[in-house]
C-alpha cells in the first residue's frame, strides 16, 4: 500500500507489515525539522499507531548524503522568550515520546548527515543503522550555537551510550562517522552504503527473533561494570562531571555557557526518570536560546554559510582551474603557503635565491606536517606523498606552465616590484600573480606589470596551518576572473577567503595594529603587560596583545606599525617603545633573536621579562613621560574602541563589503572571540552613542587618536546600528 506524499515530503509505503517512511523535504536541499515537519511527523505516527498489523517501521531519507541535518536554526534564532523556547522543546519531546511508544519496533537508517534534532529523532527509534558513506556524520553540535540539545539529546544519548561517551559527543559538538558511531554504541549496526537495502532487510529479519533482539541489547550494554563504575552511582557521576568541567573550563575559559549547561543538565538528570529529565532539558534549552551569546553564534553560523557561497566576484562560468602553482620565497610564510598547496595535492614549485633558503621552505612545510602527525591527522605515508608535490628551484625553470604564482618575499616595495617584474617575464601571459604582502598597496605593486588584471593580493596569516583567513585584495585593474579564481583556490586550500579593498594594512592588520600599538602605549605609561593581557583575555581574546606581539615578532609588528603610521598619520602614530625594544635591545619576541620579548619563553611558562621595567623606565626618561595608572575599563576600551573606530572607517571607505565580512575576518584573522559575535556585533551591543561618548572621553584623557570618526558621529545622531537588520 502506498500513500500519497504529505505536504512536507514524507512518503509512506506499507508492504508486508513494514511501514517504509522516506523523508524528502519539499523544495529544500536538506531535511530539517521545522515545526510544520514535526507536526506532520506527529500525525504520521498517530496514523501508524492506529494501523493494525504493522510489525516494523523503517525511517529513511530521500536526500543523498543527508539523513536529517537538524532542527530549523531560523526557529531557534527567533526565540526571544525562554518560556516559548522551553515550549518548543517540550512539543518535540511529546512527539518523540509518541514515536518511542509505537507498538512495533522502529529503525532509523542513517545514510548521510544526522545532526542535532536529526540524531535526537533517531535516538527515539528502537534501532539505528548507519552506513559507512563518507558523508555519514552523526552528532549533537548544538553547543556550537550556544544552546543544548533540546529534543531529548541530553537524556537519551547518555542513557544509551553512557555518560562519559555522551559527554564527549555533546560537549565537543563534534560529529562522528558511521564506524565510530557503531563503536560508541550510538548505532546498532554499520553497513556498506551500496548494500544498505539488503542489510536493512537482514537486520529487520534478525530483530524479529528474541535472540536477535537480545544480542542487540547485550551489545549496547557490553560493559556493565565499567558503566556502573563511571555513571551508575552518584559519586561516579560527580567525578566524571568534575573532570569534564575542568577540561571545559580550560578550553572555553568559561566564556561559553552552553557546554557547561549541557554538562550540568546531564549530571543532574541522569538518575531521574526520563520525563523529569526532559523537563529540565526543555527549561534549560529555553534559557540558553534567548542569550545574546547564542544569537551571536547563530549569526556567525549564517555568516560562515554565506561566506562559503561567496564567489568573490561575478563571472561567467566557473572559476579558472588551478593545476600547478609556484611560490616565490621559501621563508616561514612561503614554506607555510607551499605546505598548504601540497596539502591540497597541488604540484608546487618553490623558488628562492639559493638552496639553503629553499631547504628552509621544505623544513617549514615538514614541520607543519610533523605537528599534524602528532595530532594523528596524517601518517608518514600520507605525509611523504604530499611532500612529493613540492619541487624546489633557484631559477625560473618550471615556471612556464604555472597557473598561479604566490609571491612571499621580503616586505619591501622596491624589491617586490623588481622581483614581480622579473617573474612576469618567466610565466605565461595568463598566469595569475598573487602577492602575500601584508601591508603594501596592491595597485602600487601592480604598477609596471604587463598584466595588472592578473595581479592580486592573497594575504595568508601566520601560522598558515592554523589561521583560517585569507584576505583577497584586488588592485584597481584586477579582473573579476582573477578574483574568482583566487577565492575558489583559497577555498580549495581549506581557507575562508574574504575580499577586501586595497589600503595600507588591508583590513585585519589595519585594525590589529592600532590595538597592539595602544597596548604598547599603555606599557609606555607604566601599565604592566600582564594587566593588559589579563583584561583582554578576560574579554575573550585567545591571547593578550603582548603575548601576541611576542608571538608574531616585535620586529615584524614594528615594521608594520611604521608603514601604517606613514599611511594614516596621527591616529596610528606608532608606539616608539617597539623600535627601542627591537633595535636597541634586540628583543624580537618568541622566535627571533634571543627568544626574549615582553615575556621570557621557557617551555610553556610565561614569565615577564625582568629587563622590561628598566627598558621602559629609560624610554620614559628619554621621552619625558611620567607614569600614570589606568583602570581596567580604560585598558579594555582603549584597546578595543580604537579598533571599532578604525573598523567604522573601513566600512565607510568600502574596504570590506559589510559588517558580516568584517566580523568574520576579525574572528578568523585575529581570533576575536566568537561568542561576542564579532567586533561590530560587540559595537552594536555597546551602542553607537556609548562608543562615541567613551571615545570622546578617551580622546580628552589620552590623546586625539581616539577621536570618533565622522561615520560614528552620524550613526549616533541617527541612532543607527551596524547590523540594522538581522542578517540571514
Amino acid at each position: 500500500m502506498e500513500m500519497p506524499a504529505t505536504p512536507n515530503g514524507f512518503r509512506i509505503k506499507i508492504t508486508d507489515k513494514v511501514a517504509d517512511i522516506v523523508f524528502d523535504l519539499n523544495d529544500e536541499k536538506v531535511n530539517k525539522l521545522t515545526t510544520p515537519v514535526m507536526e506532520e511527523f506527529d500525525g504520521l505516527i498517530k496514523q501508524l499507531a492506529g494501523t493494525d498489523d504493522l510489525e516494523l517501521m523503517v525511517l529513511r531519507s530521500g536526500k543523498p548524503g543527508i539523513f536529517i541535518a537538524g532542527a530549523d536554526i531560523a526557529e531557534i534564532a527567533d526565540i526571544t522568550d525562554p518560556v516559548a523556547g522551553a515550549a518548543l522543546a517540550s512539543k518535540g519531546h511529546r512527539i518523540l515520546d509518541r514515536l518511542v511508544a509505537l507498538p512495533f519496533p522502529t529503525i532509523a537508517v542513517i545514510d548521510g548527515a544526522c545532526l542535532g534534532g536529526g540524531l535526537e529523532l533517531a535516538l527515539a527509534c528502537t534501532y539505528r543503522i548507519a552506513t559507512d558513506n563518507p558523508k555519514t556524520s552523526i552528532g549533537l553540535p548544538e553547543v556550537n550555537l550556544g544552546i543544548i540539545p533540546g529534543f531529548g539529546g541530553t537524556q537519551r544519548l547518555p542513557r544509551l551510550i553512557g555518560m562519559p561517551k555522551a559527554l564527549s559527543m555533546i560537549l565537543s559538538g563534534k560529529p562522528v562517522n558511521g564506524r565510530k558511531a557503531f563503536k560508541l554504541g550510538v548505532v546498532d549496526a554499520v553497513v556498506p552504503a551500496e548494500f544498505a537495502t539488503e542489510k536493512i532487510a537482514e537486520f529487520a529479519g534478525y530483530i524479529k527473533s528474541a535472540a536477535g533482539r537480545k544480542a542487540v541489547l547485550v551489545r549496547r550494554n557490553s560493559r556493565p561494570f565499567r558503566r556502573w563504575l563511571t555513571q551508575d552511582n552518584a559519586l561516579a557521576r560527580l567525578v566524571t562531571a568534575n573532570i569534564a568541567c575542568r577540561n571545559l573550563m580550560k578550553k572555553t575559559k568559561g566564556c561559553y555557557p552552553a557546554p557547561l549547561k549541557a554538562l550540568e543538565v546531564i549530571r543532574r538528570t541522569l538518575g531521574m526518570p526520563l520525563a523529569a529529565g526532559l523537563a529540565v532539558e526543555a527549561r534549560e534549552f529555553g534559557e540558553l536560546a534567548v542569550t545574546p551569546i547564542s544569537k551571536n553564534l547563530i549569526n556567525l553560523f549564517y555568516g560562515s554559510e554565506a561566506l562559503k557561497k561567496d564567489k568573490g566576484a561575478v563571472i561567467d562560468g566557473k572559476p579558472r582551474q588551478i593545476n600547478r602553482v609556484g611560490v616565490l620565497g621559501a621563508g616561514v610564510m612561503g614554506g607555510g603557503i607551499a605546505w598548504n598547496f601540497t596539502k591540497a595535492d597541488i604540484p608546487t614549485r618553490l623558488k628562492d635565491l639559493n638552496w639553503e633558503a629553499v631547504g628552509k621552505g621544505y623544513e617549514a612545510a615538514a614541520n607543519i606536517y610533523g605537528q599534524l602527525k602528532k595530532l594523528r591527522k596524517y601518517n608518514q605515508r600520507e605525509i611523504d606523498i604530499k611532500m612529493h608535490h613540492l619541487s624546489g628551484t633557484t631559477d625560473f625553470s618550471g615556471f612556464g606552465n604555472l597557473d598561479i604564482v604566490v609571491e612571499a618575499i621580503v616586505e619591501d616595495l622596491d624589491i617586490k616590484r623588481k622581483v614581480l617584474a622579473e617573474l612576469a617575464e618567466h610565466v605565461p601571459e595568463d598566469t595569475i600573480i598573487a602577492s602575500n604582502t601584508s601591508t603594501l598597496p596592491i595597485t602600487e605593486l601592480a604598477e609596471g606589470l604587463p598584466h595588472p588584471e592578473r595581479f592580486i593580493g592573497m594575504h595568508f596569516f601566520n601560522p598558515v596551518n592554523r589561521m583560517p583567513l585569507v584576505e583577497v585584495i584586488p588592485g584597481k585593474e584586477t579582473s573579476p576572473e582573477t578574483i574568482a579564481a583566487v577565492v575558489a583556490l583559497s577555498k580549495r586550500l581549506g581557507k575562508t577567503p574574504i575580499v577586501v579593498q586595497s589600503c595600507p594594512g588591508f583590513l585585519v592588520n589595519r585594525l590589529l595594529l592600532p590595538y597592539l600599538s595602544e597596548a604598547v602605549m599603555l606599557l609606555q605609561e607604566g601599565v604592566s603587560p600582564k594587566d593588559v593581557d589579563r583584561v583582554l583575555t578576560g574579554f575573550g581574546m585567545p591571547m593578550g596583545p603582548f603575548t601576541l606581539l611576542d608571538e608574531v615578532g616585535i620586529d615584524v609588528a614594528h615594521k608594520c606599525a611604521v608603514v601604517l603610521a606613514a599611511a594614516y598619520g596621527e591616529r596610528m602614530a606608532n608606539a616608539t617603545l617597539l623600535e627601542c625594544m627591537c633595535e636597541d635591545h634586540h628583543l624580537l619576541g618568541k622566535k627571533g633573536g634571543n627568544g626574549k620579548g615582553f615575556y621570557l619563553h621557557q617551555g610553556k611558562k610565561q614569565v615577564l621579562n625582568p629587563d622590561l621595567p628598566a627598558i621602559v623606565g629609560d624610554w620614559r626618561e628619554a621621552n619625558n613621560i611620567s607614569p600614570r595608572q589606568c583602570s581596567d575599563d580604560d585598558i579594555l576600551d582603549r584597546c578595543l574602541l580604537t579598533m571599532v573606530n578604525e573598523a567604522v572607517r573601513c566600512l565607510d571607505e568600502g574596504i570590506v563589503a559589510d559588517p558580516v565580512h568584517l566580523d568574520m575576518a576579525m574572528i578568523m584573522g585575529i581570533g576575536f572571540p566568537p561568542f561576542r559575535g564579532g567586533l561590530l556585533r560587540y559595537a552594536d551591543e555597546l551602542g553607537a552613542e556609548h562608543i562615541w561618548t567613551r571615545l570622546y572621553e578617551l580622546a580628552e584623557k589620552y590623546g586625539d587618536r581616539f577621536k570618533p570618526c565622522e561615520r560614528l558621529q552620524q550613526m549616533t545622531r541617527n541612532q543607527r546600528e551596524f547590523y540594522n537588520e538581522t542578517v540571514r
Binding site: W355, G359, A365, D384, I385, G392
Partner: protein, 429 residues
C-alpha cells in the same frame, strides 16, 4: 637507419654513500623526487607521457613494482602505466633502451626513464634455519609442541643473511664481484699500485668537476628528510685529497693475503636516482623541444660470469658494429669503474691486437681509449655506483660533457654483474 631517440632532459640526485645522508630515503622516494623535478622543469604536460620505465636492482619489498610507485608518488596521472626493468648494474641503461625499442616499434612516443637505488636499504634477512624455526612455531598447535620447537632454538639461527653481500655474489660462478676483479687483475697483470693510481686519478677528476660546477649541472639538490634541516647539493664520495699513501694503507678486501682490490680502489655502495625524458626525434621536433642529445645505437653482450668486468669491450664491439662505427668515431667515453682493476683491464683489452684476435676474430685491436677522453668528470670509484641508477647517470653525464666540449659522439658503457656488458652510442644535439 632507425630513428634516433631524443633525450630532452636528464637529471639526478646527488650520489651519497650508503648508510649516510640518504639512509632514511627509500629508493621509491628518491625516484619520485627526481621524476617530480623532471616533470616540473621540463614543463611537459604529463598527459602526453606514454609510460614510465625505471631500473632498480635491490627491489624494496614495500614497492614491488617500484616504477609504478614512483609514477604515482611523483604525481603522474593514474592512467599512466609504469614498469620496472632489471639488468643488474645495467638497469638504468635498460630503462632507456627499452623505451627506445618501444618507440621504434611504435608502441609510444614519450617516456620517462631512469634508475633508482637505495643501497642503504638492502635488508638483513633471516637465514634458512631461522625461517624454518618460525615456520615450525606457526605450525605447532599445542603448548607442548610449541615448547618443543622453542627448545630447539640456537643463537646461531640469528646470524643474518646480508642482502647486499648476497646480491653482489654471482650465484652461478659463486664469486662476489670483488673476486671477479681480482681475476681480471691476474689475467691482465694489473698491480695494486696501478689500481690505486687509477683510483686517485678518479677522485681528482671528480673533485675538480664538483669544484668547477660541472656536476652541479646534472644534480638536483635534495633537502634531506625527515627533518629537512640540511640540503645535500653535491656527491659526497669524491675526495680531492685522496692519495697513494692513504690508499696504500688499506688491506685487500676480497683476498686478504695476495689480493690487490681494496675498498679504496673499488666503487663504494651508494644511494641515488636519475631520470630522463625521452621521445622520438620527430616528436621532439613536433613539440618544439630542444634535446640535450640522442641515443644512436646500443648493444648488450654476455660473457663468462667470472669475467663480467670485461662487459664494456664485449658490448662496445657489438654496438659499434651494429651502428657501422669504429672507436675512432668516439670523442668521449664514460666507462663505469666498478673496480679500478676492471676498468684498467678494459683499457688494455681495447688496446690489444691479441685480445681482439682471440675473442672477436679480428686482425686489429678494437681501438685504444685516450685517457684524456675517459671519465673526464671522475668515475664510480669516486662518485659511487648506485647499481640500478648508474646506467642513467652515465648517459646524462656523457651528453652534458659532449655539449660542453662541443663534441659529437660519446660512448657510455659498463660491466654488468652476472657476466654482461652494455654500451650506448650517444650523440650531441
Amino acid at each position: 637507419m632507425k630513428e634516433r631517440i631524443a633525450i630532452i632532459d636528464g637529471i639526478r640526485t646527488p650520489m651519497c654513500k650508503a648508510g649516510g645522508v640518504f639512509k632514511d630515503i627509500q629508493a621509491d622516494q628518491l625516484g619520485a623526487w627526481i621524476v617530480t623535478e623532471l616533470i616540473a622543469r621540463s614543463e611537459i604536460d604529463p598527459a602526453l607521457i606514454d609510460e614510465l620505465i625505471m631500473g632498480n636492482v635491490g627491489n624494496p619489498t614495500h614497492a614491488m613494482n617500484i616504477a609504478r610507485v614512483i609514477a604515482l608518488k611523483a604525481g603522474l596521472p593514474q592512467g599512466l602505466p609504469a614498469f620496472t626493468v632489471h639488468r643488474n648494474c645495467g638497469s638504468g641503461n635498460e630503462a632507456l633502451t627499452t623505451a627506445a625499442a618501444k618507440i621504434q616499434a611504435g608502441d609510444g612516443d614519450i617516456y620517462i626513464v631512469g634508475g633508482t637505488e637505495s643501497m642503504s636499504s638492502m635488508p638483513l634477512l633471516y637465514g634458512p634455519r631461522m625461517t624454518e624455526f618460525f615456520a615450525n612455531l606457526v605450525k605447532s598447535k599445542t603448548l607442548s609442541q610449541k615448547l618443543g620447537v622453542i627448545s630447539k632454538f640456537r643463537p646461531s639461527f640469528l646470524k643474518p643473511v646480508i642482502g647486499i653481500v648476497q646480491g653482489l655474489t654471482d650465484p652461478v660462478c659463486g664469486l662476489i664481484m670483488g673476486k671477479t676483479a681480482e681475476l681480471l687483475a691476474r689475467e691482465f697483470h694489473i698491480t695494486r699500485e696501478e689500481q690505486d693510481r687509477y683510483a686517485v686519478e678518479s677522485h681528482k677528476k671528480a673533485a675538480a668537476a664538483i669544484e668547477s660546477g660541472r656536476l652541479a649541472e646534472e644534480i638536483l639538490p635534495i633537502p634531506v628528510p625527515s627533518c629537512y634541516k640540511a640540503v645535500q647539493e653535491a656527491d659526497d664520495g669524491p675526495r680531492d685529497n685522496q692519495s697513494m699513501d692513504a690508499l696504500g694503507k688499506l688491506r685487500p678486501y676480497f683476498d686478504r693475503h695476495n689480493g690487490t682490490v681494496t675498498v679504496g680502489n673499488s666503487c663504494p655502495l651508494t644511494d641515488a636516482a636519475a631520470a630522463m625524458l625521452v621521445m622520438s626525434e620527430t616528436k621532439a621536433k613536433e613539440l618544439g623541444l630542444t634535446p640535450i642529445g640522442f641515443l644512436r645505437g646500443y648493444a648488450y653482450a654476455g660473457l663468462e660470469p667470472q669475467r663480467m668486468g670485461l662487459g664494456p669491450i664485449y658490448s662496445t664491439v657489438k654496438a659499434l658494429d651494429r651502428s657501422g662505427m669504429t672507436m675512432s668515431d668516439i670523442e668521449l667515453v664514460e666507462l663505469n669503474e666498478a673496480f679500478a682493476a676492471q676498468a684498467i683491464a678494459n683499457l688494455r683489452a681495447f688496446d690489444s691486437d691479441e685480445f681482439a684476435a682471440r675473442y672477436f676474430g679480428r686482425h686489429h685491436k678494437v681501438g685504444a681509449i685516450d685517457p684524456a677522453i675517459l671519465n673526464v668528470n671522475g668515475g664510480a670509484i669516486a662518485l659511487g655506483h648506485p647499481v640500478g641508477m648508474t646506467g642513467a647517470r652515465l648517459v646524462i653525464t656523457t651528453l652534458k660533457e659532449l655539449h660542453r666540449r662541443n663534441c659529437n659522439v660519446g660512448l657510455a658503457t659498463m660491466c654488468i654483474g652476472g657476466g654482461q656488458g652494455g654500451a650506448l652510442l650517444l650523440e650531441a644535439a
